[in-house]
Amino acid sequence: MRTVVVGNGMAAVRLVEGLVARGIGDITVIGDERHPPYNRILLSAVLEGTHRAEAITLRPEQWYADHGVDLRLGTRVVDIHRAQREVEIADRSRVAYDRLVLATGSIPTLPPIRGLVRVEGRLHEQVHAFRQLDDCLRLVAAVEDGAPRAVVVGGGLLGLQVARALAVRGVETEIVEGGDHLLRSQVDGAAGGVLRRSLERLGTRVYTGARAVRLTDEGLRLDNGVTLDTDLVVLTAGGRPSISLARRAALATRRGILVDGTLATSDPVVFAIGDCAEHGRTTGFVGPAWEQARVLADRLAGGSSAYTGHRTVARLRATDLEVAVLGDPEAGGAEDADVVQASNPMTGTHKKLVVRDGAIVAATLVGDLSQIGVITQYFDRRTVLGPREPAALVTPPRTGPAPETAASALPDEAEVCACAGVSAGRIRACSSIDEVRETTRATTGCGGCAPTVAALLGPVPSSVGS
């Protein structure tokens, strides 16, 4: 039984790994990029220079060969012939399938900016998309060629990551966001404002409520009349599920390809996973894509897993800009939810927990992620918290007293040396460190109490006349 996978992104590679692990053979993978699958969400890290481009490869071509998977890179599926159960490739050859998986991902939307596309249909040479590894490598090359200025169009997660990456590379960067604040699909205006201040402090100018309308030799003109003189324009203004293939094959689609809990489309032998699939909604995050890949691998191997949705945690990956968005903190219907928040634009922090029936159902964390390791655990596990906990989670923990003051404040019965079981009082009764060692054996174990013991013994008297 042959399984054909259209697409070779993060969802597809996860699915193939799952199928291989379950002993399913006869798999063909058709990907339109020329690269073996890579970790797409790290492209901005490659741009930033913190990740080597080679280190983001998820599975080399050899892996596919080793596991008997027919991998076809740099080639496109142009049609699905459902009646014949065949896909047609760009060179007009056909591949038969018994089960077809669409993992076609999403494609970046081109904002309506005049001058973006050349007459021959190519992007203006200063303009860069940021979806594929080739886009990223081209942008890296432009930066390395010495482009001094860039404008990032789009103030979403990807836009901020790209802007920070360029800034870290020394490119003078500006952000243009059509909405009234940054990250507008994830966070509220207050959080967006904090982010804006933080970015500007890092040297990146932000234009919100402004649309880029035209690219000319003078630069990128905004609808507020400003023209930004720039060498590079990077488009990060969102994407949409890539569904044209599915639509031409008359599969049921809305924004994405409609799937049920078994990840089947309206054709029971055609499945869809990842950014192109719509299960209640489309997501665009790797977490749901991988969960769908796991469920589908199990089902194709005869299992009975079902996809029931997924909790997302959106994390910004950018140097000196800490943002996490759990679930959808700006979703409507907050009447039955409690919102606990603490915002401090002066320190660049904004923390907001949305709590329903004691459980954290959504959150925004900007600037201070010290509690993220606990908050995401509670969010993922739907832990029911006590009434005081949410507030404690958004208030930074207090720091303890300095050790010297701590020693003098110790009550006599407090244990100072755990290794030997010695109290502060017994140390105070000694006149020297030697006496402590001899009579109590404190400091003779792990040695960790030595500073406290020294403090309890008090300052060594200086000898007269020295």
Partner: protein, 688 residues
Amino acid sequence: MTDTHCPYCSLQCGMTLLRRGRSVLEVAAREFPVNEGALCRKGWTSTGLRGSRERLTTPLVRSRETGEWSVLTWDEALDLVASRLAALREEHGADANAVFGGGGLTNEKAYQLGKFARVALGTSRIDYNGRWCMSSAATAANQAFGLDRGLPFPLADVEQAEVVVLVGSNLAETMPPAARHLDRLRARGGRVVVVDPRRTPTADHADVFLQPVPGTDLALALGLLHLVDASGAVDESYVATRTTGFDAVRSTAAAWWPERVERITGVAAADLRSLATVLTSSKRVVVLTARGAEQHADGTATVLAWIDLALALGLPGRPYAGYGCLTGQGNGQGGREHGQKADQLPGYRMIDDPDARAHVASVWGVPPESLPGKGLSAYELLSAIGTPLGPRSLLVFGSNPVVSAPNATAVASRLRALDLLVVCDLVMSETAALADVVLPVTQWAEETGTMTNLEGRVVLRQQAVTPPAGVRSDLEVIAALAVRLGAASTWSTDPEEVFAELGLASAGGRADYAGITYARIREEDGVFWPCPSPSHPGTPRMFALSFPTTDGRARFVPVSYDGPAEPLDGTFDVHLTTGRVLAQYQSGAQTRRIRDLPDDGPFVELHPLLAVRLGARDGEPVTVTTRRGSLTAPARVVGTIRPDTVFVPFHWVGANRLTSDALDPSSRMPEFKVCACAVTVPALVGAR
């Protein structure tokens, strides 16, 4: 005045025992490279069992009808045990009898016990509590390096490192003198990293502290490897010339970016990045794992993930760098080398290797085909009791599984299903209390024998006092039973003679003791194995030039993360982890009977946020319930534990009634260190 070593943990701290008058034995510190004169309170008070009124001094037999104990002479007891063993073998075959050993037994005893099982009983069924200690690290090290020696370098080497990473080790409490080496390292400008769900006293000796969710150390290691590779810090020439298999590991790590690791481990991506920077900016890094990382159903994979990281950084074999396991029990190392394990023969030989069988059989003077094959691992051995083909008798030496086994209620009920349970112990331990026959044996200062400490250094414990009248050594018990069973071979009761035989049996094996003698150990203050001949200096540092694999290279092993065997759910919504406290050791059979050591009983450590949620107060009882049992103990409310986790020490009956018996697929290690529990306050449950 007798130079010896502490009876407890794997450091085997050097100490001197001084006689004061007829019966008083005092402990004095002694310079020994591991502890340099330091001891913890367990060591200082270690002579406290001497003269204990609880000490057993006569064989006892328990009536199954009345439950009453009666006294037997040694001959009566040994005749009884031997005849029952013979009868069970006659009726049900050799595998009807089983042996359960311990990682606290001397090398001589561990060796003799393995020989006794295979030669005198002819059973395949022997395993030991070390399976529940460091077996995951042992399995991983064998896979990666071709050899398992806890530390492949002397402990004091860590002082010369730049960075020491402790994964799941609370050595400041479990082996306090070891922490001195960390402080020296820091005084020299080095850095200490501690990874633990609890901010333990060991974290007080650390510069960097990471607090992951229990059971996620594997994901943490993958995340670090990811960052190391991403930043181009992989030691490519080391990987190319000294290892194999990196490509598969590398592409696995590509999927473990920091934010994904953060979501699983609860360690902020920024903290992971800082640690990666610490690792990649240092040449001499030592990675040490302990039970926190190892006692998991994916313990072997977890250790392999940390070894993969160490190999990618080019550490193993580099001076003052590498990977090591901090062994737990006193002879955890030697105890796993000489035939107590179900699948091994002396010298760390595998029992299914024909050459190994031939060699050992020739030393024992028996035909190789008479040696049984691979037996069952510890928990599987105990679980098989009461099944049609399971063991019908069990001889227990140096172990207390009623307290120390996972899912302990089930284990105790298995022990009750035996036809015959024989326990050799000093005191009436919880396991001895279930026995049919209890044989009182010598302890520590009353006998001589070798131990192999966490560094692979073979040390000598020397007899300092005469044992109480009526008590015999384990070697005497084994020999007496072997003779009564008409066993082939010879059965010395002299430790030095047994050690010499062990040397012959281990010769040519991975753990080769052939060149070690008592005289050399005394003279050199311990000898590191392998030491194949009298002229060989021993091997303090390993892997400098090659690894003991077929091609001399270390192996990268790709691993995947599946998470704990028992994830949290709506009912069992808190992680439970277990561990030790400073003043107690293992099942507490010894330490709980020493007056100078505080014995406050078990407690439940929990975070103030969780305490407030539950209405729990410090010092008042809380109940921890898992799918296997429940425990009520006083709450200890501390800000040093993760708020989603509670901790219970395992030295008392109760903790292991809670723990999970999910086993690691290769090491057969149970998942002691994480399971799902519910925490309630008993008073409130009644009030509502």
